[in-house]
Amino acid sequence: MAAADTLFRRITDYANRADPYPLYAELREAGVVRQDDGSYLVGTYHEIAGLLHDPRISSDRRNRTVPDLLASREADVQVSFIGRDDPEHERLRNIAMRPFGPPHSPGRVDAMHDEITDITTRLIDALRGRDRIDLVEDFAYPLPVTVICRMLGVPREDEPKFHAWTETVIAGFDPSPDSNAEERQRAGLAARKAMGEYLGALAESRRGKPSDDLLSAFVNDPGPEGGFTRPELMATAVLLLLAGHETTVNLITNGVLTLLRHPEALELLRREPELMPRAVEELLRYEPPVHLLPQRTALTDVEVAGVTIPKGVPVILVLASGSRDPRRFHEPDRFDPTRKDNQHLGFGSGVHSCFGAPLARIETQIALTELVRRLDGPRLLQDPPPFRRSPVLRGPRHLPLELAGLKD
């Protein structure tokens, strides 16, 4: 067995992308372990849950004592709320929440239900007559992109432009300790900047001309506390557009992959579609779209499970490992769509818990319900399928399927 201090290297190694779970088991066995690059890796449920609520842990990389390009002055890009601490994090998140969810807009996500169903139906209808599809390109990617474009107010036809930026940004956040990390980070920063300029200009074009979308709301209805500055708006919009479609695509695709690997579960959901909300929660535990949080930092020496994590070093929380911890979940490696005790870490926890979770939930519930109902005789053509590069946002790049047909 390789040494525990290379676990992060091995987890981020693309060769292990298809099945990182044995490495997670090794991580949980090893406890909290210092990696050869100085960071600390945590993979057990209770320790992760504890750190997600621990006020001695920062989400702001500028608190690192190790050199970090993404946090340096040189980066010259506004940091969004995901990378900040309270009270700034809270202020920015509240402004972003105002047109999106409670308390100011409690019905906003639910109101998307019919529109998401329509988009889903159209995408599935378009598969008629095909016996081979790529679930990612044909469905799981276009659905959330269309939804987030609609929600934010970004023209759908600009997708090729922002998709390129998105891929570069995600590669920039990839914490894999490889030789071209700095190059990736620089390119990622440049892409964030370009994407921010693009979204900032879009929002500006709506000033005084309110439309039913978030970018418009950000400039036209800032709320009593005052709204975003231009750089804050740009950073937030980049975050929402990116997170809005680069995560749900993985949840939907992982969902289909998992159901096809578990025919009895697929059959159960066909018979009892009302179980879908619970099945989606199980997916968030069993095959989550976000595997690890790479940007936490200890603000002081913090003792976790008998190990002292020194001040200023990166603390990497492997959420997907915590959700498979046998000390928390009964038979954690079993996919059980009827699981009741399921407080998974799929959306994180604490003040930074996933902003878009309600949207991701209903998108995936609707998508999987319709796919399960309408795809006739779906079969995996490649298992495991080719995976995306990122060890953070993990999911298949393609999911080739064979279909016998389509039901109405």
């Binding site: 609520h53 006020p55 001695r56 309270d86 009270p87 002081t300 818990s353």
Partner: protein
């Protein structure tokens, strides 16, 4: 033998939150016997927290607060009938309509009722309310809809403060009269209460502390105002008596159970004690009416009027009713409650009144976003957050592990404050009763030892 526990007759007295969750847990745990639910209110179990919040704001109707069900409970419901006693030898529950309900195991979850205004004649004036039930809330909400000129709230505990908050949010004039030095002082201590007082004043509440209401005045059977102990008079057409709760234990007076004004004493497994301190094995207690030992609070018997405690304790009681000794579980949940008032989300874990010191651990008082941590003899015993509830699991862990007080400083939103006395008062000086009663060292009554002959 263990299988026998899954059948037989179980009666649950009290058809509110604890009773319902216990019934659901019994069925979840495989109880296949006869289950009877007895409740003195006619309504199916409903949720009370909204009654002092959304209902008074007119957002939800009082009748729409029925509790969602976790599962079918397949029970016989006897609603609108009061229990009047227990025959522990024959194992019968006695009902007000004369019926004697046989049981093999009994769960007492009769909760509390609102403490009434001490002068019955004044309390009967039109316009005087307490707030505990659907009817109370519906009646009060209707009166608030009619736009009274002034509402008098008597008692500034959580319920009284929430009522005052709802009134101000509706633009109604409110006077709050509190015998203690500030609102919420009984639950959270003096330094927190000072903030609560500022908050109420900033929201336009006419706050009168250190006074009692000596009389409610009426004319033609309608409330016209009140007289205060400082000699002032106020005019009000609505008064809400928020003087805390009375535990529904009187009906148990003759049963030989350890029941008194502070609740029904039970062990950590929710089994009731009798008056000699001997544990029973067929009578269980859960919810607001229970008084149980808690290891985090030096095994004192505590009673909690908390929503979460009612649920957690009901689950433990129900589990223990249908499982044999070695499989039984203790009720050890860390107490927790929440309140929303004057635009703030307040949440508490642990028992703030079990403290001698308090420190602002995180955030800012001025900006009304903070966590205050309470300590007792050098260990952490409670934490209260204002608009910072998501950090509480961290502090809950400090309580569970008896971490040293003061805790090491938080580093997100650091605070430079140092501990000050928590100044939790003697409950006797408050208008409203405490929502947490630490009663271990205060026996309710002295037993007269009887000498048996022979």
């Amino acid at each position: 033998m263990p299988d026998d526990l899954k059948s037989g007759r179980i009666v649950i007295v009290g058809a509110s939150l604890a009773g319902l969750r216990a019934a659901e847990t019994l069925r979840d745990e495989g109880f296949i016997g006869e289950l009877t639910m007895v409740g003195d209110e006619r309504r199916l179990p409903y949720d009370r927290p909204p009654l002092s919040k959304q209902v008074l704001l007119g957002r939800v109707r009082a009748e729409e607060t029925t509790l969602p069900r976790r599962r079918e409970v397949d029970a016989k419901w006897k609603l609108g009938v009061r229990a009047t006693g227990v025959d522990p030898i024959a194992r019968h529950l006695l009902l007000a309509d004369g019926e004697q309900l046989p049981y093999d195991r009994l769960l007492i979850a009769t909760g509390t009722r609102a403490r009434p205004w001490p002068n019955a004649e004044e309390g009967a004036l039109d316009g005087v309310f307490t707030l505990r039930t659907t009817e109370d809330a519906a009646g009060l909400a209707e009166r608030l809809d009619a736009g009274p000129r002034r509402v008098l709230v008597i008692g500034a505990g959580f319920t009284g403060s929430e009522i005052a908050s709802a009134c101000r949010e509706r633009g109604l004039e409110v006077t709050v009269a509190e015998r203690g030095p500030a609102p919420l002082v009984g639950a959270l201590g003096k330094s927190f209460a000072t903030l609560a007082a500022k908050l109420q004043l900033a929201h336009g509440v006419d706050l009168r502390c250190g006074v009692t209401v000596t009389a409610l005045n009426g004319s033609d059977g309608r409330l016209t105002g009140a007289e205060l102990s400082d000699g002032t008079r106020i005019e009000a057409d609505v008064a809400v008596v928020a003087l805390g709760a009375v535990r529904n234990t009187e009906w148990l007076a003759e049963t030989g159970l350890a029941a008194g004004p502070r609740g029904v004493a039970c062990d950590a497994g929710c089994r009731a004690f009798n008056m000699y301190g001997i544990v029973t094995d067929d009578v269980f207690v859960a919810g607001d009416v229970a008084r149980f030992p808690h290891p985090l609070f030096e095994y004192q018997l505590i009673s909690l009027e908390h929503w979460g405690n009612a649920v957690a304790q009901a689950e433990v009681a129900a589990h223990n009713m249908v499982n044999p000794g070695p499989l039984r579980r203790p009720h050890l949940a860390v107490p927790a409650f929440w309140s929303s008032q004057f635009g703030l989300n307040i949440k508490s874990v642990g028992v703030p009144t079990f403290s001698d010191q308090v420190v602002l651990a995180q955030g800012s008082l001025e900006e009304r976003r903070f966590v205050a941590v309470y300590g007792y003899r050098g260990r952490v015993t409670a934490a209260v957050s204002v608009n910072r509830a998501k950090w509480l699991p961290y502090y809950e862990r400090l309580i569970q592990t008896a971490a040293p007080f003061p805790p090491e400083p938080a580093t997100v939103e650091p605070s430079t404050h140092t501990p000050v006395p928590s100044d939790v008062p003697d409950p006797k000086v408050l208008s409203h009763g405490p929502t947490v009663a630490l009663t271990g060292h205060l026996p309710d009554l002295r037993l007269t030892l009887r000498h048996w002959g022979g």
